[in-house]
Symmetry: C2
Subunit: 344 residues, 2 copies
Amino acid sequence: MQVTASDVARMAGVSPMTVSRVINGETSVRESTREAVNRAIRKLGYSPNKAARSLASANSLQIGLLYANPSSAYLSAMLLGVLEQARQNDTQILLVECGAEPDASKVIRGLIRSGVDGVMVTPPAADDPVILRLLKRNRGIQAVTIGTKHEDDGIASVSIDDYEAAKAMTRHIIDLGHRRIGYIKGGAEHWSTCWRLAGFRDALLEAGIELEDELIVAGDYSYRSGLRAADTLLNLKPAPTAIFASNDDMAAATVATAHRYSIGVPKGLTVCGFDDTFLATTIWPELTTVRQPIADMSKAAIELLVKNVRAKRAGLTPACDHLELKFHLMRRQSDASPSVKIRR
Amino acid sequence: MQVTASDVARMAGVSPMTVSRVINGETSVRESTREAVNRAIRKLGYSPNKAARSLASANSLQIGLLYANPSSAYLSAMLLGVLEQARQNDTQILLVECGAEPDASKVIRGLIRSGVDGVMVTPPAADDPVILRLLKRNRGIQAVTIGTKHEDDGIASVSIDDYEAAKAMTRHIIDLGHRRIGYIKGGAEHWSTCWRLAGFRDALLEAGIELEDELIVAGDYSYRSGLRAADTLLNLKPAPTAIFASNDDMAAATVATAHRYSIGVPKGLTVCGFDDTFLATTIWPELTTVRQPIADMSKAAIELLVKNVRAKRAGLTPACDHLELKFHLMRRQSDASPSVKIRR
DNA sequence: CTGAAAGCGCTTACAG
DNA sequence: CTGAAAGCGCTTACAG
């Protein structure tokens, strides 16, 4: 029924060992032999048995992926990256949705008991000190977080520089001529909330623009919270000429709110977001935002984790890097210079 | 290093065979023996080696998943369903993005060559007759489509009844008192486009409302196309009092366009969508829409495919069912009775 | 550059 | 209800 390496070997007149070598692209095979094997492979429609390879090479591993209440856009980009990398590394992914503490701790303990080699954790669980400590204490398991940078050794991380990204975006808004800029914060349980706000603040400071408390309003990264926050900001006297929402969902909500007040974007109001999820290019006008390379970050996270698990298996000390990928300012149609001079 | 069934067996004073029985939940094990084994398992932190199980039982399989240019919301829901079901069935998923013909044909041929046992195909590839024929002719591979119903034997399918769903939604709009209802079509390469339109049309007919060509405008399921279509509809004299967009993306665009014209939703215009992706509850007001149980459909599709592959392996003829899941009308905040009587 | 032997960690099929 | 034997389809480690 199933074609095996032995079948191929027989047809090619070699040993199964040589077939294995050809399949694994080893160089120590005579060219003519390789060709004969490849011909037999094609003729028989042979493809190696994954399970047998995994078992024999003892190379495969299992990783738990904790994801929590994400936006679809973030999740699908992440999943695509994770799955591609996982396949390439012969690793199984165990998807588990989980909330914050204490749920996350329980889930992680269960995962460890079930024998996973590592876990990949997303915010906000990745930003929770209790979770981080739990991960660090469990020497039997490797961990990687994705999202905001942290510097624990023992836990790898892949992130962008939220601070610099927010600062760059704020500078861009300032360069357009805005002086009265509203800011919508993310949820308190996310570290990104602090870093992005700090970047915003420092950009203003460096430009010599005074901070005004009323211009910084609470949000929690949800569309709904963005609606409320934008409403607050647009009712300020004078209203801001630009609003920097710290993620795309809240930026989209800001655009919608502006439209309800018959304020045009970007003519009457500049709106900028963060993340560059699919929402950014779905709404009208398309959002100027900060691009986070989510799929690439996910791939890098899996790669790092696999590397560390294999290092540990080989008896080495895992390196546990902290990778920082580049962000990009995506300038689109939601920003413009202020049309009216604001008296300050 | 790794704890094996033999280790457990030794500690429990039984044979590895018995450990295997306990793990697989076989009933023919004395209760006291089972307990001893379970105690040893817990004590040693044993978890069975997946690869070894797959190899020995020859039960695992590989499925290619063709997805094409979907919305993030649709994709993430689908992926979550697929992955959960795949893990439970010991099957590997090979994700491949692919466009329409001839790209899709090439991808499928490659997948077959690479030795997958089956493929799961999403629209619009799942609606392409060339693809369907290719799948049907390849007796070596099992296939399942998801989305719109088709009735090929040899290819399983999981779907909702697009026709009845669109009809139900249209009836709902009519019941609210609307008589002049705009409709935005999907892309021509999707079968769902035909079925949904037919449902819309028949509901009008049954209510004795005359069809007017100008009220049915082209779209392609993208937000952008929805913007244009809504613009056309809202400039009609008289304008429709309700618009049924055949997916959520275009419905969201319709809401945005209405807002630009300072038309309130639902007071000045009823807007209904289709799919119930996350967009539906993300925008304001939340959309009244048709819920498609995407994750459940995906799970069912994988389950069906696995069943068919195993049947074929066992020498039986695969059953190749056509499953139809229930849709649900999700009434939310974007619909209302018309406030102004329309002269016809 | 190539092969014979042993083994990866399970399960199937057969005994008892 | 339990076990000894053989084997799943590869790869590793060792020879030559």
